[in-house]
Structure formats: structure tokens, C-alpha cells
């Protein structure tokens, strides 16, 4: 099967799942609580005010109508209006998203690098004390709530040692501006990238400093599964014939471990990165709250405090769509990298 037909088949498969996902969210946020509008107004409010409120949000229509509006809205990129000020939720989400993306990327990098490094070591000293320690470490880090870890890191490295800032994304006023050539403007919203585009090295360093603790917390909690996966994958691969044959040719041990064993063991790791993306987002919500990181997670938490149920719905839909998209991309990438899969 060619790559193209695989992609098409895969995309078609995603559609019913997406539909189910959207329906699920709708059920939870509109059907489950009964009336989200009344939930919003905890105290008594004048019926006319409530009615007007309902109309402005389109929540006065019948449920099936709301459902259709909701689905068509998602297709158009409309995720509803906030209960707080009726501004479009989609816009708020898109402005908060790059922060979460940056955190997620760095968190994933740390998780994978740590995981691979420790996993390879563990596999090479099989059943030794080092192996057991690393394996236990991998299990133990998963048991730590990421926000607790974040707080501990804040306490030690920020409040006590002053090595890193304890919250926020950058020093107010130094937001990177991105590329600005003549009239052409390009900004990704990722401060690390934008500061490089701007050519401002000190902003880049600052962005990294603010990024470090939250992504480290996130990465540490997630690295366990990568340690285990790398270890298992490497143990299997290291005993394969072509690894012994490579050693028999006198290749350097480091080449054998990385170019022969790890390169072949890597595909499951790649897939796992995609699978862990959902967990990454979940962790990001808590991490952002701990470090006052202005991303999607914190947006969601704020909306909860405001009982802004339409915004909550919009954000949850966005999370779901995002995970589905990443999952699709990982599958396609996998098929591209390993031609044997497509058959």
C-alpha cells in the first residue's frame, strides 16, 4: 500500500472517532448538568437577565439544534462564546495555545532524552544494581503528582537558590517579537523560536530560564515510561544477530549501541511519544497552574473558577481535537519511516 492510500484510510478512520469525541463532550457539558446557564448563575438572578444571557449564547434552542450548531461551529473553527464576556472562545484558545505547545515540546524532549539515556544504560547493565535503581526511579517518578514536583522544584531552585524564576513565561515587557523585516512579520508564539527570529540572544536565554523548571517537572514525571520502553526495546535488539555481527566487525561499542541497536529500537519510542501526548497535555494543565504559565491549561483552570461553562466546553473540545490530530500525525510518520507497516 502506498503512503498516500494509507494516509487516506487513516484519516477516514479518524472521522467517526472525532464525531464520537465531540458528541461525548457535548453530552458532558450540555446534557449532564442539565442547564449550564443556571449552574453559572449560582445565586438567584432575574429570569429576564438569564433568558437574555441564554439567547446571546445560543443556549435557548432545543438540544438537537444546539448539537447541530455545535458541530457546524467546530467545522468553522467556532468554539462558542465565553460566558464571562461573550468573546469568542476560539480566539482566546489560540492565543493561549503557543505557550502550552512550547511547554509540551520541551517537556517531551526532556522526557525522551532522559528516558533514552537511562533506558540504554539500564539495558546495558542488565540485572545489575544500576539497572534496578534506574527501573525503580522510572516507576517512582510516575507516582509523583506533577504539581507537587513542580512546587518542590520551585522551592529548591527558585525560592532557595534563585537559579530560576518561579513563575511566568518571561520578564514582563521582554516578550520576544519575532521576525520583523520591512513589513513582513512572523511570530510563532513560541518564545524560544521568536527570540531567535528576532535575533535577541538575551531574550532567548531568558525564555529558556523561565521554561526550564516547568518543562523539567513535566519531563521527569513522564520519563518513566520511556525508560522502560527503551530498556525493553534495547534488550530485545541488543541480542539480535546484526548487533553481534556489527561487533564481530570491530565497530566501536558506541556505534553498535546507538546506530545499530537504538536506531532499530527507536520506532516504538516514536509511537510512544505520540501516545504520551495526551498525558503530556494533562500534565501541562497542572504544571501551568503551578508555575503561572499562561497557556491553555491555565486558561481552562481559570474558566472553571469563573464557572464559564461554554469556554470550558470549547477548551475541552480543543484538547480532544489536538490529541486526535497528533495521533494521526504519529501514525503517518510511523508508516513513512517503516515501509513494512504499510503492507
Amino acid at each position: 500500500m502506498s503512503l498516500r492510500s494509507y494516509v487516506i484510510a487513516r484519516v477516514l478512520l479518524t472521522i467517526p472517532m472525532l464525531l464520537l469525541l465531540l458528541t461525548l463532550v457535548f453530552l458532558i457539558t450540555r446534557v449532564l448538568p442539565g442547564d449550564p446557564v443556571l449552574l453559572h448563575f449560582e445565586k438567584q438572578a432575574k429570569p429576564e437577565a438569564v433568558e437574555e444571557f441564554r439567547q446571546r449564547l445560543g443556549l435557548d434552542k432545543s438540544l438537537p439544534e444546539q448539537y447541530v450548531d455545535y458541530l457546524t461551529g467546530v467545522l468553522r473553527g467556532d468554539l462558542g462564546k465565553s460566558m464571562q464576556d461573550f468573546s469568542p472562545v476560539a480566539q482566546q484558545i489560540f492565543s493561549a495555545f503557543p505557550a502550552t505547545l512550547e511547554l509540551a515540546i520541551f517537556g517531551m524532549i526532556i522526557a525522551v532524552v532522559l528516558g533514552i539515556f537511562l533506558g540504554v544504560r539500564s539495558s546495558r547493565s542488565y540485572n545489575s544494581g544500576e539497572d534496578h535503581v534506574i527501573r525503580t526511579f522510572g516507576i517512582a517518578t510516575y507516582a509523583i503528582p506533577v504539581f507537587f514536583l513542580g512546587m518542590v522544584l520551585q522551592l529548591v531552585f527558585s525560592i532557595q537558590l534563585h537559579w530560576f524564576p518561579s513563575g511566568g513565561r518571561i520578564y514582563p515587557g521582554s516578550e520576544p517579537l519575532g521576525l520583523n523585516l520591512g513589513g513582513f512579520h512572523l511570530a510563532t508564539g513560541l518564545y524560544t523560536v521568536d527570540s531567535l527570529l528576532e535575533g535577541n540572544l538575551s531574550k532567548f536565554v531568558q525564555a529558556l530560564r523561565y521554561l526550564f523548571l516547568p518543562s523539567f517537572a513535566l519531563g521527569l514525571v513522564l520519563c518513566g515510561i520511556f525508560i522502560r520502553l527503551t530498556r525493553t526495546s534495547m534488550l530485545e535488539t541488543l541480542r539480535l544477530d546484526f548487533v553481534t555481527a556489527a561487533r564481530a566487525r570491530g565497530l566501536k561499542e558506541r556505534t553498535v549501541v546507538y546506530t545499530y541497536a537504538l536506531r532499530n529500537a527507536f520506532l516504538p519510542i516514536l509511537t510512544m511519544m505520540g501516545l504520551q501526548f495526551a498525558a503530556l497535555l494533562a500534565g501541562a494543565i497542572l504544571t501551568e497552574t503551578t508555575f503561572s504559565w499562561p497557556g491553555l491549561g491555565r486558561y481552562l483552570v481559570d474558566r472553571i473558577a469563573f464557572r464559564d461553562y461554554t469556554a470550558i466546553q470549547g477548551a475541552v473540545v480543543f484538547f480532544g481535537l489536538l490529541v486526535a490530530l497528533v495521533s494521526l500525525m504519529v501514525d503517518v510518520l510511523y508508516a513513512y519511516l517503516d515501509p513494512r507497516i504499510r503492507l
Binding site: 544477530d241 553481534t244 555481527a245 556489527a246 561487533r247 564481530a248 566487525r249 570491530g250
Partner: protein, 316 residues
């Protein structure tokens, strides 16, 4: 001076249930340009012996006794780096060509990497040139250097392995069951190729196999192994015409003979011994039709008899 000299080599595998003695005080020598065939049943230790020569005995195996001298150098004393260098000078061909190549590496890159690891001054271009030549001499189109292993058939992959083994003009080539995974026709082609290369490269070849037919065809010397010991060792012709050790006789009789198709085949009764607690005395005695009093008591040592070495009390 012989190119390869193995003296009383012993390789043990410590396991939870006991120590497996895979190679038991083996002594062999091979002169430059000769071909040695090591024959025996599965599990007799021949593969371990082959791997020991390049110090690649898989863990938990350890070489507990003896020495291996290649061109006068005791390889047991070499440092890790020197062992790596050694492996550039001793070629090794593995049994299963389907799994001996890195699936994510192009064929050409296997060669280039190998060449440049041991000859650091060679450029990538030069290495690729050389690779092309080698592949052509093996009957593979030069353009296929950019292909991946899974695009080659079994026979072609084994040619690639042979090519890799010979890429740096080694003095010694060890082939561990090189044709066992291949079908008969391909096997014949590979053997023919190996014979030709032997002459072209002036190789000293060690051929490890359970197939006596191959050994008869290709080798000058034969070493017959049983339960980790060499039981008979000498020139092929002598041993085939007049096998002295009962096991050797048994092996020859259990193989079909094209010259005498009417002769029935006699398999050797019984099965190979448990290497953790082998039988006392001569390890073959429980299956030997000629066993007598000294056999269960003492192990026989190799003695020179009728122009070859044999370890059997019948000839003490």
C-alpha cells in the same frame, strides 16, 4: 609458525542450574593458506569455538583456560581496542543472512562504515568505490549499494556478508554454518564462490558446519568435535578414507553416500550429552559401540596415529 594456534581452550557458561562447559581443552592449529573444517552435531561447541577466536563469546560465557594465538599474538591479552582492531583482520560470517544485516542501513553503508572504522584515512568516496568492486566480484550489481537489506534475497545477503568479511583483506576468515540457512542450489553457488575467493585472497579459512559433505569438499584439515572436545583432527583425506574415532565413523556412516547409494545409513544411537554434568571418562562412551573398561574411567587425550590426531582409548 601456524597462523592460528589454539591451545587447551576452555569456555564455560555459568548458569543458575550449573556450569555448561561448551568448549573443553581444545587444541588446534592451522597453517597459513589452509582450510580447516570443524564438524560436529548441534551443541558440540563448534560455534562457541569460532566466536572465541574473535573474543565474542556471548555473555555469560567466559574463556577460563588456554590460549589463542593468531599470527603469534595471544589474543587473550589484548585490550578492548586491540580486540576491535583484531576483528578488522579476522573476518566472520554468521549463519543466518536474513538477520545479520542492519535493517535500517543501506548495504553500501555497511561496507563504508566497516572500512572507515579500521582504515581511518580512507575517504567515503574511496570506500564506496571499493565497495562497488567487492560487490561486483561477488556477482552483485554495483548500483545496489544504495539498497536496503530487505530488498535482497537470502543468497545475496550471504554474499554481502562474505563481501563484508573479506572487505579488509583479512588473513583469517571464519564461517559459521554459512550455507545452513540457504537452499541447496544457492548453497552450491556460495560454496563455489568461497572456493574462488579462497584462491583470490589467499585465505586461511575456518569452516564450521554440521554438514560433512561441505567439509569434505572444501577443507584441507578436519577437526571433529563432540561435547566440547576435539575427538579427531587431521588431513581431510586421511580421516575420510580411514576414520579412526568411533564418532567420526558414525558421522560418516550416518550421511548418505552418493558413490554407494545401496549402503544404508546408520544414525548414531542415543543423543548428545548434558554439558552441565557430562558422562564420566570419555564423553562419547555411552553411545560408542566399541566402549571398553578405560572408557568410563579416564578421558582420552589426543595422540598422533596414522598421520592425524585422535582421542580414543582404542588408540592409546
Amino acid at each position: 609458525m601456524p597462523l592460528l594456534e589454539i591451545n587447551s581452550l576452555t569456555v564455560d557458561y555459568p548458569t543458575r542450574v550449573g556450569t555448561v562447559r561448551a568448549v573443553d581443552r581444545v587444541s588446534i592449529s592451522v597453517e597459513k593458506g589452509q582450510t580447516l573444517g570443524i564438524v560436529g552435531e548441534s551443541g558440540c561447541g563448534k560455534s562457541t569455538l569460532g566466536l572465541a577466536v574473535i573474543r565474542l563469546v556471548p555473555s555469560p560465557g567466559i574463556m577460563t583456560e588456554g590460549s589463542i594465538m593468531i599470527d603469534g599474538t595471544d589474543i587473550m591479552r589484548l585490550s578492548n581496542n586491540e580486540v576491535r582492531e583484531l576483528r578488522g583482520k579476522v573476518g566472520f560470517i554468521f549463519q543466518d543472512p536474513m538477520t545479520s544485516l542492519n535493517p535500517v542501513k543501506r548495504i553500501g553503508d555497511h561496507f563504508v562504515e566497516f572500512i572507515r572504522t579500521h582504515e581511518k584515512e580512507v575517504s567515503r568516496q574511496e570506500a564506496l568505490e571499493k565497495t562497488g568492486k567487492i560487490l561486483e566480484s561477488l556477482g552483485i550489481l554495483r548500483e545496489r549499494t544504495t539498497d536496503y537489506p530487505h530488498q535482497f534475497s537470502g543468497g545475496m545477503r550471504q554474499r554481502v556478508m562474505i563481501g563484508l568479511g573479506l572487505a579488509l583483506n583479512p588473513k583469517l576468515l571464519i564461517a559459521d554454518e554459512p550455507t545452513t540457512s540457504l537452499d541447496v542450489i544457492v548453497e552450491a553457488q556460495i560454496l563455489e564462490l568461497m572456493n574462488k575467493l579462497k584462491k583470490d585472497y589467499d585465505l586461511t579459512l575456518i569452516l564450521i558446519t554440521h554438514n560433512i559433505g561441505i567439509v569434505a569438499e572444501m577443507s584441507d584439515l578436519i577437526a571433529v568435535m563432540y561435547a566440547g572436545r576435539v575427538v579427531e583432527f587431521g588431513p581431510t583425506e586421511q580421516i575420510f578414507e580411514n576414520p579412526l574415532h568411533p564418532y567420526t565413523k558414525g558421522l560418516l556412516e550416518s550421511a548418505p553416500n552418493i558413490l554407494h547409494p545401496e549402503r544404508s545409513m546408520h544414525p548414531i544411537p542415543g543423543s548428545p550429552p548434558d554439558l552441565i554434568s557430562p558422562p564420566p571418562g570419555c564423553k562419547f562412551h555411552p553411545r560408542c559401540p566399541h566402549a571398553f573398561e578405560p572408557c568410563p574411567l579416564r578421558e582420552p587425550f589426543l595422540v598422533m596415529k596414522e598421520r592425524r590426531f585422535v582421542a580414543c582409548h582404542l588408540y592409546d
